[in-house]
Symmetry: C2
Subunit: 688 residues, 2 copies
Amino acid sequence: MKPVIMISLLFACLICHAQVNNELNLMPVPAGIKSNGQHFFITQQFHVAITGKPNKRLYSEASRFIRRMGEKTGLFLDRQGFVTPSDNDLNAPLLINVNHEARLVLNEDESYYIEVGNMQVKVNAATDLGAIHALETLMQLVTADSNGYYFPGVIINDKPRFVWRGLLLDVALHFMPMDVIKRTLDGMCAVKLNVLHLHLCNDQGFRVESKTFPDLQRKASDGKYFTQENIRELVAYADQRGIRIVPEFVVPAHTTAVLTAYPQLASVKKPYTLQHYFGVFDPVLDPTDPKVYVFLDRLFTEMASLFPDQYFHIGGDENTGRDWDSTPRIRAYMKAKGIKTYMDLQTEFNKKLLPILKKNNKTMIGWDEILQPGVPKDVVIQSWRGKEAFYQSVRQGHAAILSNGYYIDLIQPTDVHYLNDPLPADTILTSEQVKLVLGGEATMWSEHVTPETVDSRVWPRTAAIAERLWSPRQVNDVTDMYRRLDIISRHLETIGLTHLSFRPPLLRRLANSYDTKALEILVDVIEPLKMYERNQGDTMYTVFSPYTKLADAATPDQPLPRSFGKLVSSYLQNQTPEMELAIAKQLLVWKNNHQQLLLIAEHSPILKEALPLSENLSLIAAAGLEAIEYIRQKNKANVYWLRERLLLIEKAKQQSGRCELQVVNPVEQLLRAAAVAEDTIEGKLAIN
Amino acid sequence: MKPVIMISLLFACLICHAQVNNELNLMPVPAGIKSNGQHFFITQQFHVAITGKPNKRLYSEASRFIRRMGEKTGLFLDRQGFVTPSDNDLNAPLLINVNHEARLVLNEDESYYIEVGNMQVKVNAATDLGAIHALETLMQLVTADSNGYYFPGVIINDKPRFVWRGLLLDVALHFMPMDVIKRTLDGMCAVKLNVLHLHLCNDQGFRVESKTFPDLQRKASDGKYFTQENIRELVAYADQRGIRIVPEFVVPAHTTAVLTAYPQLASVKKPYTLQHYFGVFDPVLDPTDPKVYVFLDRLFTEMASLFPDQYFHIGGDENTGRDWDSTPRIRAYMKAKGIKTYMDLQTEFNKKLLPILKKNNKTMIGWDEILQPGVPKDVVIQSWRGKEAFYQSVRQGHAAILSNGYYIDLIQPTDVHYLNDPLPADTILTSEQVKLVLGGEATMWSEHVTPETVDSRVWPRTAAIAERLWSPRQVNDVTDMYRRLDIISRHLETIGLTHLSFRPPLLRRLANSYDTKALEILVDVIEPLKMYERNQGDTMYTVFSPYTKLADAATPDQPLPRSFGKLVSSYLQNQTPEMELAIAKQLLVWKNNHQQLLLIAEHSPILKEALPLSENLSLIAAAGLEAIEYIRQKNKANVYWLRERLLLIEKAKQQSGRCELQVVNPVEQLLRAAAVAEDTIEGKLAIN
């Protein structure tokens, strides 16, 4: 097992290197930053003073900052308690000045200025929101050497590129309890996201207590919902972090839960039960029934009173239209009104919701399906199906939020999301249209996550999306993003996120033992199936399915396959003995791992689905070792050798346990580099 | 780093061995269990039916059981959803019958019967409480081999030895949020504890919302308290697990929080502020002031309505009497009433509380300080200061609960608690007195724990206390307890407890890196200072101090020092080359570890306090290696060699970072075995 340790030390050193060199590890990268050669030591006397027009939100966040500083440095600070209005000493080690109290609304000033000097750290901000961002930047700036902790001397002038920097958390498909939401808000604050979009109902459940329609939680939540007190607590918690909560109540489709409680509102009149599978289903509200609007008026008015934000999301996505089509009453209504398509009918439905939201001083948002002729211009469009809908929205004069490209539930690598710029340099939008682009939202749909695993799908990738939405367009170096992502990932863990720590217990459970080493080695190089592949074939998941299996321990965009791929690329360009050794050692670990995993699986049948992956890993690693030997000896393997081994490569691309191996491509590169190519003369001669 | 892996595999194999042999790993051990040679395979068709008089509590727990079974086995069970009254098929794979619905009160029947047959598993229980215990036993019974998961064929007849099997969780000194309480209840249910004693206020805060006296939470909680809705939710959650919640509101001392909100109730009239240090303080209610009793009447009546349990704990401990002594008004009152001592005054105070509790149909409990002449017999005494108070209580006719010996906050090894029997075989109590012994309570005082670390102080040791209170007295084999404790520890982790998983993130934070190996090696052999040593000397902790340091990562009763100690003992009795090699490899790991840790600490000043421990570990390990060599060569080291190395041993016993090394004694044994003893003739000759 020695080689794996050596190779991970090698990788660890690459990370250390950056720290030693005092490169800054901020994420998101500030709009403007320069070094001033100063150095501020963090000592036991460290404390915070605030001048200007501070408010409760800032005092509270400053107190949390002090607590975190103690936890990070281990210092028993002299002034550990709460920062209060009496803390206004102009010579305080950290002096914050704010000009006015923020309103937690779109377009509020979030800019800030930090100057780290030898004697004092100064923060200036227009509002407490800016000051809170500054505190998070300072937490990320804390650096250490053998003399202790310090802030490196920098001057930072920072402000966000987009005003809407969101994360959608779906608490409907799988419910997420209070502590998950709270730690998610902490993580969002750390990377300067400012909108938590809560997807609160769907076919699988209605997740907010309604006092007007209590059957929603009684009959249509499986007992899993937020009380109104819970919601008020979350809104207050988010406000404290400078984060708006935008609620989504999806209509007219995805309403099986609503119809389970109130079947009289359905297009097809029949009893409904909660949907426990995931997908797109036909149940839909009856847009021809005035009672539906009375219901929605009362429900939305009640819900609007719980969520102070100006925006109210009505969903609007994935209406199959089938239940409308199969209902003569509805077809007759359409005919009578001259409504041609189901989308037109939905637009009519949406228009009837507008006065309800207006009355409650809310602005409507919906998914891009609602962008139909006749939709009023003050409706905000959230694009999920593609960039085209996004461009259309702003061309038609709607404010727009981009989610297409930020679907973190689809297990894509971070760089895909990171390079997905709402407004690339070559944007085809006019400057007027550009103004309508509010920003973007990462979307965490919860079909395949539980409170145990959700963090590992949200973080750290969402930090890179946060950078895309905050930092200047020019900040787009993928290599540097990944370097910082590894560091921010640990930083996020210190505030209670579990995207790293969830795994060892899951592996102990899977292995039915403390001895999880072989399983760790495998899980480090597999990922769950991407896009919508996981919930297919013979594996149909429900709300109750076990999410404690191999695919749940596996996480997106793992560091090891990424760094191994890089190592192989470098090696194939420029073969050094060090790289050769590092690759060979890694391959040897993988080759030998299967025997160890077999031992574990013998008493843990849940791991049977891991064995094909493990065996394939072992086989391609063995082939890779042969390849390295050919390359080292500057021999070329013959075409037959290659053909046979490429069969292993093909086999290794097959999924098992809804997971796939992530290191097949670099091994294939090694094999091809080691052998005579079939399309060369030498290759052709060899075959003929 | 190879040796440490090998040695941990060696230890892991010892654990596997037990599983392979199909020894049962139940904790607590049932009162009666025998094998019947049957074997029940758990397949996709596994489901539960319930007959008799089931209730909501049982249906809900049975549904949770089904969900856990899916999570453990990875099976997509055909009937994954909820167990309902329609599930009453007499041929169901698991058939539960209950005779009547339990009342959640002391002395309710908790017995159960399990019969695992080839075709069916049958559970019979008088009440749903018994059935819930049976489900937890079944979860622990699940076994696996290469054919799949199964229940081994057993017949179990089980019932508890004591009716009061509790855990005190202190949410006053450090507040513990909802999710900590809930997962604690889950853990308690898994090991058949049935009372959660919540210590809800102290000098550091009052932790329950009062609508009668809202300044309690407004001014005296630092914002950390349970709303009344929270309390109702916790009570319901506990009820669901068959667990009673007993609230404690401590009076008349430990009331700085109450007096911060309502200083007019104090003996010494002055403004109070929340106490942020820990200890015993003078602020105390004024027992001479009728307003105090009016206040307590209204407060206790409000609190009594929130907690349905019959028992209500009024604390009563650690009254210094100083504020009574220094107040002429109170001294005059005592003189006038002929009250001689402060304890008598407190007894008078307690007597005035009794009608308040009686009116609310509550039985009073208090700490053993309240056992004074004249205390009515229906008051229950909880003994913390020693066994004598416990015996006195029952001799004087009080029902009694033992906590002395179960103070899990004091970081003592598990066996100390495990062997602390409330009624040992040679008990001096009469059979009438024995009837008054209700049981015991583990006590988790929270001076030095946070939500992040608390589980690691509670678990797994509390499982052994649970066994002491549930299983027959004769179940007291420490070796077998430890064998099962390692397994139950993993089992507890699967239900969400974090006593194992909290550590890696804490180490990553401490190391400021993913590379924590050297730190792990150290932390595996250190423990926080025991008893009341941690909060002394130059390290005075407050509520705000960082609990993210070495002593927080260290945990009580670590497995490695225990198994290393055993290995050394065995070796010194019977020296085999295998043992010699295992010891030497372990010593080599420790010897070499310090250099690695130095590298980490270079960029992590918070780790400086770890270095003396690490260096000492390295030095004594080197000495141990020399000793092994002497022993191996059957040479004796001379007295000077021993004297010099014993100096290292002495040094290695010193604390650093509020931690101490746990492997010093076995190494010392090796050294002494390797050398000539000074008190032998050979030794004396050598010196003279």
